[in-house]
């Protein structure tokens, strides 16, 4: 994704071609210059070490690598696409990123003359090697920002002419594409004093995806857990918490979900996953939510904790009834509902076999503990 977006925003990248099938390899690979680098397009860390980056000095070598790499698996991820780029001959490699800093409430520009580094590690080991400048979003990138970066990195001030447009374009990308982070690592300087983005990473604000159609397409390709995807179809949020946790929590708000995790964890019990059904819970949606989270095989017990503010408790109860009865699951379901029409809701709940109903969160957690001791 990063490579394509850099190209679209005039952030210089090595020339490259994309290979997504083994057809016409001769045609594609015979008439380009060599040496080249073949990169598997998968979103994993340590791609190089995992064998996802290889060097080719000739068309034949390139073809051989393509046949090996395409459609193989790297760290469990399918390789469906290769990028074959010119081999840069950097005389220096730097690090450059822009991230949205929530505490400054501004974009922050980060630069280091030592490229290829793990920036978080470097920040601990040698904080002085990293230059960090908050950018006033009403001003954007100014030339003096670049001059400052170069001076502080002991680089030639004359590089400003070349570095300024790179940073400016990267900043435009950052703003226009609603990025949380754009990172170029390494950012190479070649013999002609040109800057080239050799590798990079881009993270987008989830909330902005509806207005970033182009990026939405990229994301669809990402591998995600099946239950997360399934939940998203219903606009539910499914979050895996601890591996092998046997308890699940379902509720109608993030705060309440976090509180439930905290209270259950405090008792020494692992929460495996949670599901947030959000506001406006109808019977049907409640039923869908229960179906999804119980389809996680690790889960033995579900704590449903719904505080209906404006939503009616009888509506919620109907949903729970529907789900539990139709699933004929042997998993334990503990229910706490509160809010408007609570009495009517409890009447419905009391007709469902196998549901443990509790009056408040504290009781709910106690019931979870008691039940888990038995299981």
């Amino acid at each position: 994704m990063a490579h394509a977006l850099y190209k679209a925003h005039n952030v210089p990248t090595p020339d490259g071609i994309v290979i997504d099938s083994l057809d016409k390899l001769d045609e594609k690979l015979n008439n380009i210059d060599y040496p080249r680098v073949v990169k598997a397009q998968v979103q994993i860390g340590g791609r190089g070490k995992a064998g996802g980056i290889k060097f080719a000095n000739s068309p034949d070598e390139a073809k051989k690598i393509c046949k090996e790499l395409l459609h193989s698996k790297l760290k469990g991820m399918d390789v469906n696409k290769l990028l074959i780029v010119q081999k840069a001959n950097p005389i220096k490699e730097c690090y450059l990123s822009i991230m949205l800093d929530r505490d400054y409430q501004k974009p922050v520009l980060i630069f280091s003359a030592n490229g290829g580094i793990d920036i978080e590690q470097a920040a601990k080991d040698d904080p002085d090697s990293i230059i960090k400048i908050p950018i006033n979003p009403l001003l954007g990138i100014q030339r003096y920002n670049i001059k400052y970066i170069l001076k502080k990195s002991n680089l030639d001030l004359n590089l400003e002419e070349r570095l300024f447009p790179v940073v400016k374009n990267l900043y435009e990308l950052f703003i226009q594409r609603d990025c949380m982070l754009v990172e170029i690592n390494p950012l190479a300087i070649n013999g002609k004093n040109e800057f080239i983005a050799l590798d990079g990473k881009i993270t987008i604000d989830d909330s902005a995806l509806p207005r970033q159609e182009q990026i939405l397409n990229f994301r669809e390709e990402l591998n995600e857990e099946a239950l997360v995807k399934e939940a998203r179809k219903f606009k539910f949020l499914y979050i895996p918490i601890e591996e092998y946790g046997k308890v699940a929590v379902m509720s109608n708000g993030s705060g309440m979900i976090m509180s439930c995790i905290d209270l259950i964890s405090k008792e020494g019990i692992k929460v495996g996953a949670v599901l947030d059904i959000g506001g406006g819970a109808t019977a049907d949606r409640v039923a869908e939510g229960i179906r999804i989270i119980l389809s996680n095989k690790d889960i033995d017990l579900l704590f449903v904790n719904i505080f209906g503010g404006i939503t009616r408790c009888d509506e919620i109860a109907s949903g729970i009834k529907k789900a539990v009865e139709s699933l004929s699951s042997k998993k334990t379901v503990i229910v706490r509902i509160e809010g408007t029409n609570k009495d009517k809701g409890m009447e419905i709940i009391n007709t469902v076999k196998g549901i443990i109903s509790v009056d408040n969160v504290r009781e709910g957690v106690k019931a979870v503990v008691a039940k888990m001791e038995v299981i």
């Binding site: 909330s207 902005a208 979050i239 705060g255 976090m258 505080f307």
Partner: protein
């Protein structure tokens, strides 16, 4: 006295002709909030539950002298709607939408310094001063008038707390939904001074959660400026790192920034009572009142 919203507040509803806007206008009117005007471009001249609709915020403001606007508009339109309200000099802008892009809020937050406006939210349930008025969509039946001021990043944790408070005969002065986003329009530390000055508020409750450093800033502020007893709950102690917990802002960074432990330590140092659950908040308030 209560703060920010009361029976004298004049409120505009932006997006009043929409499904949510219309429904919650009715709810607010039933709570006897003074809804002075609504705004929907192209629908000026109509009325919604008897409230006159205008095409622009500026007209609505000029005709009514409103001091607060509540935005029932979709997340991608929130930026424009806030701008329009800022530009019309509305003192208080309450924005409830979830999933407002964080770049939009970054721009707004930086622009606010030039303006006379305060923004509450986004992703906020609004503000309620029980028995006086509400501006937002909170389930008002569970609230009761009293002396505890509450600010919360989470709606559900706030409801839960208020519900149990009211059942224990502890009322609230004003409850504010800070909102669960990464860059909220107003933070705990920016709102604390209002509670400090308010005669009605005897105890201040801060319902925080993991992510960011706003609770830490609030602890600093409390240490220096707040003389009233404070109680705080931090949700998300057991949330995995680097994973947003639903609220865009509820995320612990890989270096541990935003962890519940740090927040609780700082708050405790500032003399704040730390609660482990909503019930716990109520128990502590009982002792303090």
């Amino acid at each position: 006295m209560s703060i920010l919203i009361d029976e004298n507040s004049k409120i505009i509803v932006q997006g009043i002709t929409g499904r949510e806007g219309s429904f919650h206008t009715k709810q607010m009117l039933e709570y006897r909030s003074n809804i002075a005007a609504g705004v929907t471009p192209g629908r000026g001249g109509e009325t919604v539950h008897g409230v006159p609709v205008y095409d622009t915020v500026k007209e609505a403001f000029e005709d009514t002298g409103a001091d607060t606007t509540v935005l029932f508009v979709p997340p991608l339109f929130t930026y424009q709607a806030i701008l329009e309200a800022i530009d019309a000099d509305i003192p208080q802008i309450i924005t409830v939408a979830e999933h407002v892009p964080v770049h939009d809020m970054m721009k707004i937050k930086n622009l606010l310094k030039y303006s006379v406006s305060r923004v509450i939210g986004p992703n906020s349930f609004g503000i309620i001063s029980p028995g006086k008025a509400k501006a937002g969509f909170m389930a008002h039946r569970i609230f009761s008038k009293g002396n505890v001021g509450i600010m919360s990043r989470s709606a559900t944790n706030c409801y839960e707390t208020v519900f149990m408070m009211t059942n224990s005969n502890i009322g609230q002065s004003t409850c504010i939904g800070i909102g669960g986003d990464m860059i909220p329009g107003s933070t705990f530390s920016e709102l604390l001074p209002f509670y400090q000055k308010d005669d009605q508020t005897k105890v201040i409750v801060l319902i925080g959660e993991i992510g960011g450093i706003e609770e830490e800033k609030a602890a600093d502020h409390i240490k220096k400026h707040i003389t009233k007893p404070c109680v705080s709950l931090i949700a998300g102690k057991n949330a995995p790192k680097e994973r947003s917990m639903g609220h865009a802002g509820a995320i612990v960074a890989s270096d541990g920034t935003g962890s519940a432990e740090n927040k609780e330590d700082k708050l405790r140092e500032a003399g704040v009572h730390i609660a482990e659950s909503a019930m716990d908040i109520v128990d502590i308030c009982k002792r303090l009142l």
